[in-house]
Symmetry: T
Subunit: 156 residues, 12 copies
């Protein structure tokens, strides 16, 4: 292996899988975020168009951080289109035009899935690698903050 | 349609297809660029790791510009993982670790494909939409500059 | 003439008229953009107030570029209030308070007129001066992008 | 007194009381602005969330300026939570979640109170201290500008 | 009225008219400033070309501030090309090429008119609205500074 | 509830109370920090005046972060003057002028209280919400660093 | 006269004298500020050394503003070493090394003189030129703020 | 060849020669621009000294862009002193001191030559390589803008 | 003791020793990083020369953070040359010229030692001080990322 | 003496006198530079007005550097208005309005005096203090550069 | 030798030894500067804490410059902990807490040693390498400036 | 002569010739640096491509400084293509593609020539003009630093 691990084999395996899942989820979030950014319509077009670019910037940054954490423990991360399509846990995004309220509903469903999956990763990595766990905790804090914002927009 | 077109129907169709193809190609370039950025090994690791991030930044910026040009002429762009997987014209990227020379060879094959496909788009859009053609000309200038750089690195 | 032309007389005449028309349109866009920026009311006040300032910044920048292109080919551009009032092709802006949805409708009618007039200028200058044509192509790309954004806001 | 005054005793008293009132009002504005920033819900969540942070930044800056003006004339300003609670002239803010339209209505009532109180301070300090009056004039200009923006958002 | 006033009706009327006049004057200054910026010729071309862009930047900024002050007191400002043409107090600008010394002479005549009109506005608003008066005082300070600079250039 | 929680009810309750306590403490720190910033006297005036502004900046930033974390887990944070007065655990600040050494002694007593209260919050949230715990750990690191600095200034 | 005045002769005379006095005072403040900046000694060396550079920056900026205001009303300002020596109202600065407490005492005496002289200028220019008066009000606000800071440092 | 071409052989030849000519012209412009920048004398010294540095910055940037475009199509650019001397189409620059009006006259003759040569290159590359043509169009726009400025300075 | 601790005596002892060890290791990393930065030779000179400066910047920043954390818990950190020489756990650096591949091998051996020692510190401080543990977790994440990069460069 | 010298007594005396002379000259240059900046008239007003502010910025920076070099060798520098008036070697500046050509002539006479005096100081300090000599060499380089620029402007 | 010298052997030897001494001294200054930065206590804690970080930044920058100058003349510099411990000429720093006045006294003793040693290096390198001498002159200027500041703080 | 000299005739002659030589060498370095920047090939392409742009930036900056120093002493510098071709002391650069190792070898030969020629200029100007000598010393320091870097890359 070009890069050796500072973790033992089983810790490396659990942590590596959690990181690969995170990479898939976050790359997918960056793609569906852009999809919505382009296709949204309605009175709140501009506000959502801008907000979704912050989503994309967040997703790209942390996909990179998770992938680089994976390499750092000797696990090779996969982030090609096919890997994302098969590995992501996000609900499917609609094609074509999307109204502003549909966008908000869809994004909440994404953040529900992400919060759930990342909280599981926090638990799974607590023993094998507190360094990776700390990264997941930071990501979860940001995910739940964005989730609040879309929920708040959704409230009557 | 939420957004009407300033082009007639047939010009809109040709231009829209060219733009959708460009979006797929460039999103794929951003994904395989990151894949190589993470998995490259060898003496030139650091140099390629940095160079590939410039590739990714370029690809993300122009994927967005092409998609927004599509919406501007009333065509809804698709950029989800599945759309990228099926629509891209890039050669398949290897999974796992890649040596530095393999990266260079692979990137040249990507740029060969991209230069070819964008030159076809320049021709195809000359009549129907000089505005979109001008965007493709700018992208081609950058693509052929990056292609030179990887080729120069490959020369003995 | 203080500034001689690099174009022959007839090319200079056609190009000069196209540029003078562009200067009038864009200065007018900067004035009605501010008019709306100040007088808009309604739930989307803040979003439109900010968006209209981007319209104004764009219009001012390119009015200047077109005027300086005119001088560069030896044609003296006119941009006084009377020149704008008589030369602009924009629909008349309402005086006094304007509701947010009225603003969106009005801006779409402006961008429809502008896209149409600039596409004619692209055609008119193709033969006599490709340098000026290239400027009109860039402006049209921006105009059609802004047009999409107001249309998207207008969609139900 | 550690800091002597450049005003005579009665001018110092009138000016000092006006400044202390301003400090209480503005610190309170900064607190209720954040309260709304956190608890707002509804379609305009994001727009108000951002706008309220500008309110808070303004309030903090000028609370500081007024307090430092008080010290400069030898009057010790009080800005603890109890001082704010007892000295502020703002209407009481609702606890818990607040809908976007409730936020706009509440903020208008705050700005009505502030504009009224600051115009009184402009009058009160004209004779005793034109330097402090000038500060109140600047603050009033900003307050009335923000008041317009919330009113415009409230218009049908 | 979407925006209520913090001034009584007569104060609002006087102040509103002064502000509308200022908006017309300053928008016109921004237009004739650009007209001169483009058409000036002669040895001092470059110096005046740059100086006139500072004039334009100043005029645009304060036209906006005056218009937003008008809205803040419930008066709707008008800034369309026709409003500027009819409301401005500036002397008429020559069309076509202008020599550098003609530009200086013309700009001095503009600043003479502006200084006179703004000093009248300072007086007119002293009673009805010291907040607006303060804005006019700031503008006058800048206008008279620019007026000196063109006069100094004109001195033998 | 406009915002649902990713925590179960009891975890949400414990975490929400800890966050509300933190918001009160930190808003109060921002208010007493400014109170001291204005009223401090003595040879170390300037040094403390500047240092206290860093205290205030820290307190404002993290009060906001804690409040936004509360909303993110579906708990509405309260930060009005009365909430701060009743909820804060800081010792009471003296009114009026304060000598530099009194300021140092007072700030140390604040940081003693804060370090104690935040260490309890770290413990209380370990089980129910590691994401919130991580935030409290970061805040405690900063609080104890500032505590050292005031203690070091206090040493003979 | 190369620059004509927008004031009548007697208003110009009163205002011009006030401005010339201000120029002398402020240039002198910039010189004695540097003198102290270089020669201060004692435990508070570093704090005063930095604080005095802020004094100098302030003095230089406003000496320039006052002088340019003078020219703007057609009065030629004098700022040569001899003009400063004869026109300044500041107490004489000691030559050679100065202890930190001597610096504080000396600076307070400077600010006492300056506050007194500028308050007289505010009164003197109220009638003849409100534009100049507004400038003196701004300067006085800053002077009295700096005066407080040196007084606060002087308090036991 | 280390770098292959995306153009066929004859297109590559025509485009490569045009680019090599542009590199020679622009490097020469950067050299004679500096020559004038150093040796200019007369009342307009400072204005021309600054203006010529903008000429040089432009020339250096686009010489680089043209050379890199050449490499991108597999043509090796030459930019050594001898290459510039033999390949440039600029009129010869005088050695030694040059008066300001001589500089202006000389620069106009340079820009006349450049505008002519670049317009020929625009035509020559239209068929073989629209990407390179687009670059020449951008350069020509800038060249003709600078040409106007020197001509305007030359007008009586 | 000038600075009291928020930890009990035994927690303070364990944590203090871990922090002192970290300070020694990181200061040593900053010194050997510079040693290699100056003495490296070979084809990869430039790439390693730059990469090593990032190592040094990281090491200096976190040595400071660890030392300030030590003082914050009442433990006085030692960072003199002798303390570093005796306390560091890094392998000895070769004196004189070092080839690029020797540098890579040596840096990997440093990072192996550091990763091991910091993982032990993470465990040791979990109970006594989660605040310090969190700092070690952050440092380990960075160390293992840099370790990957040198390992990747070492792979054939 | 509060500050001891690293030079022996006679070296300190020679160097100290040279530095005191430099401080006087440079402070005077900053004062007459501003005097001209305000009072210049004529076609080159704007160019000289800007150029003189660069003179002033240079003079202020190096007056400070020379004075701080004096203190560093234990010599207390004097920079009050009277010190400048008596110690400067610059020719007397005219009071009141000055035409642009008079300004140029006057500034050349200042730079002639300064170049002469600083070249003497370079010689005088070569033996006693090469550190101070090096500072004078840097100042002379800048002075002679500015001298050229005014001379070039003066050439027919 | 990987790097040849532009100096003859004996000049290289003398210069190399002077540079190696400088590297040791300056690295040691950076280490003891941090040691004091962390352990200082007393009323002037904050002021010294900040001032010492400027010392450290200076020492790190010039240690690097001296080391790179050594390599540039073909001499390999040594900067490991042991090299610093054995090669530095600074007085020994006390371990543990240090009062503010002890810090000042200690730093003066460091600067006395440094000024002495660098003045010797200026002399030693005058003949063999004026390029290195010039570097030592610049360093000495800064060292003596900092020495003044600590001495001034020490004066009663 | 438009610019008189502060040196006597013979000093001016010696110094002027040294400066003209330096201008030729440095302009040539900027041209061959770009030539290599464009034509380099091989594994180290990217690293050398970036490094050569730093060479060019350095060469352009100091060519300008030397030329402006020449004018400052009344000597007119020549920097046209022919002047560079005849006056430069650099070895001839190969035309066409260059491998990375050829580039390194060629650049070392350039720096050998430059170091030699500049050290001669340092000697030649010591007597006639220490101001110019100081400039040559600074340039030599940078040249020898860059020479080391290319030599280090060349070492096995």
């Amino acid at each position: 292996m070009p890069v050796t691990s500072t973790l033992d084999t089983s810790a490396q395996k659990v942590t590596g899988e959690a990181l690969q899942g995170a990479v898939s989820d976050l790359l997918d979030l960056s793609l569906v975020g852009k999809q919505m950014h382009w296709n949204v319509t309605g009175k709140n077009f501009r506000s959502l168009h801008l907000q979704l670019d912050e989503v994309v910037a967040f997703a790209r940054t942390y996909a990179d951080t998770c992938a680089e954490r994976a390499v750092a423990i000797g696990v090779t991360p996969q982030g090609r289109a096919g890997d994302v399509a098969s590995g992501s846990g996000l609900p499917e995004a609609k094609s074509g035009w999307v109204s502003d309220s549909e966008v908000v509903t869809y994004m909440i469903s994404c953040y529900d899935a992400l919060a759930d999956r990342f909280r599981q990763r926090i638990e799974a990595t607590e023993e094998p690698d507190p360094v990776t766990q700390d990264l997941f905790i930071s990501i979860t804090a940001e995910l739940e903050k964005m989730r609040w914002m879309f929920q708040a927009e959704n409230a009557v």
